[in-house]
């Protein structure tokens, strides 16, 4: 049924439909509305789940780790500093192969403190062993949570999944969302049946010391599973389409007007809505421009991106995060996808925009296209205010 809802509320509703046995979270802007709504649902008796109030994100992540280890479906959500405070446990969850689902309401990182959107938080945890998928709008954010549980709990996968949605832009945005009906959710998402669990009748230990004789194989197994998940995403996407009638294709990337394009922007998340506007406007003027939207950032679909961009002469990668002192995070991956290949773009320029919630406007996107010339640039900041860059502190 179509509803006009706030993004956060839509997420709470879909989590309710997934019936997690344990929910634990600590409030942090802009994630708060999601868990606030879930706490309300539990206290109203609409959702039979244990909502564990904790004193920090480190504890919230530990509670869902423990919950998942006992063999129940679990949920948590966080942002920014909260995600960083969870970091140690985030790596543990993946290492123990526990299919935790987390919403990351993407927000900038301190200092200076900033509560607005960019994607630095989740991107900084790209090596944690979590599958990361990025939503463009609230419909996707809702659907991706269903897909997240289905994929993570798949016995071939058994990995945690982070659904990333841009803070405020999506979490606090009102949109029409086709909310999945409970009977269809139940059809698509079977009851969680764990491969292993903590059980006093059949005791096991998890996450114990693995000395040099054992450790590497544990990490190698995650790496191989990640690579295989590229195929599972496509498979689950078609099953999702069969039940709900929404086609996310291979769930790796979305190609928008890329077929004959001579300039393509690569981006991730809600900014792609704005980019599509500019693409339409430029196409109306006869300019051959397109967008390649990355949906799955981990696993990163190198082969799929090679296919999509191999005949495009110029590519602009738009990052909403930086790797200070190096090339921007998505740009690195795109360049790597073409290294040593026969075909590929002549120019792959990298742009950084929208840090700390600075609006990426239609004009910002036009500026990216203007700066995408024969001369390659790296980590070129868009909409920078040079007047704020003061030299006097250094004197």
């Amino acid at each position: 049924m179509k509803e006009f809802v706030e993004g956060s509320h839509a997420i709470a509703e879909i989590i309710k439909a997934c019936q997690p046995g344990v929910i634990s979270a600590y409030p942090i802007t802009p994630q708060t509305h999601i868990v606030e709504d879930l706490a309300q649902m539990v206290s109203n008796g609409e959702l039979k789940s244990q909502f564990v109030n904790v004193e920090s994100e480190h504890s919230a992540a530990s509670v869902v780790l423990g919950g998942s280890a006992t063999g129940v479906r679990v949920y948590t959500a966080t942002s920014s500093q909260g995600l960083f405070y969870m970091q140690e446990v985030v790596f543990n969850i993946a290492g123990m192969r526990l299919p935790v689902v987390m919403t990351c309401a993407n927000r900038a990182i301190s200092a200076p403190i900033n509560i607005w959107n960019d994607q630095q938080d989740s991107i900084s945890l790209r090596d944690a062993g979590w599958i990361q998928i990025y939503a463009e709008d609230n419909q996707e954010a809702v659907d991706f949570h269903l897909i997240a549980y289905r994929l993570g709990e798949d016995k071939r996968v058994m990995l945690p999944v982070m659904v990333c949605m841009d803070g405020f832009i999506l979490t606090h945005g009102m949109e029409t969302v086709d909310m999945p009906q409970q009977d269809k959710v139940d059809k698509f998402l079977p009851k969680y049946n764990p491969l292993y669990k903590l059980d006093t009748a059949e005791p096991i230990s998890m996450g114990l010391l693995a000395d040099p004789d054992y450790y590497m194989e544990a990490r190698f197994a995650i790496q191989e599973t990640m690579k295989a998940s590229i195929g599972y995403l496509s498979e689950i996407s078609s099953e999702f389409n069969a039940v709900f009638g929404r086609d996310y294709k291979d769930l790796l990337v979305e190609e928008y007007q890329t077929k004959d394009a001579d300039k393509v922007i690569v981006a991730m998340g809600s900014v792609c809505g704005t980019i599509k506007e500019v693409i339409d406007e430029q196409r109306a003027k006869g300019k051959k421009v397109g967008l390649l939207r990355i949906i799955s950032y981990r696993p990163f679909p190198y082969a799929r991106i090679y296919e999509a961009l191999k005949d495009v002469p110029r590519v602009a990668v738009l990052d909403k995060a930086v790797s200070l002192g190096a090339y921007a995070p998505i740009a690195v991956e795109i360049k790597a996808a073409f290294y040593g290949k026969k075909k590929g773009p002549k120019v792959i320029s990298s742009f950084v925009a929208g840090l700390g919630g600075r609006d990426i406007t239609l004009e910002s996107v036009r500026e990216v296209l203007r700066r995408l010339t024969a001369k390659e640039v790296n980590s070129d900041f868009i909409d920078l205010k040079p007047e704020l860059l003061k030299e006097e502190y250094g004197k």
Partner: protein
């Protein structure tokens, strides 16, 4: 794909920690033992066994030679001897 992930009780017995021993090993003198069991309780590997006085022994397949048994013995009835000496063998 899965690597080493979970461990069942007593599975860690596969790790023969006796190979970690380098310089010294415990030698039970069997003179003044009062069977207080403190060496058995404190052993981090749980590799000390025995019930009666002057009848405790160590499983050197697992003993790491840490020496806490000798340290805690109230009767000084355990001493750490060089690894090469015959005295440690029981």
């Amino acid at each position: 794909m899965f690597g080493p992930l979970t461990v069942k009780p007593s599975e860690s017995k596969g790790d023969k920690t006796g190979s970690w021993r380098t310089l010294v090993r415990p030698h039970y003198l069997h003179k003044n033992c009062i069977a207080c069991r403190m060496c058995l309780m404190i052993c981090p590997e749980g590799c000390v066994k025995g019930k009666e006085k002057n009848a405790f022994s160590v499983d050197f397949t697992f003993c790491k030679g840490c020496g806490v048994c000798a340290d805690i013995c109230p009767k000084k009835d355990i001493e750490m001897v060089p690894e090469e000496s015959k005295e440690g063998d029981q």
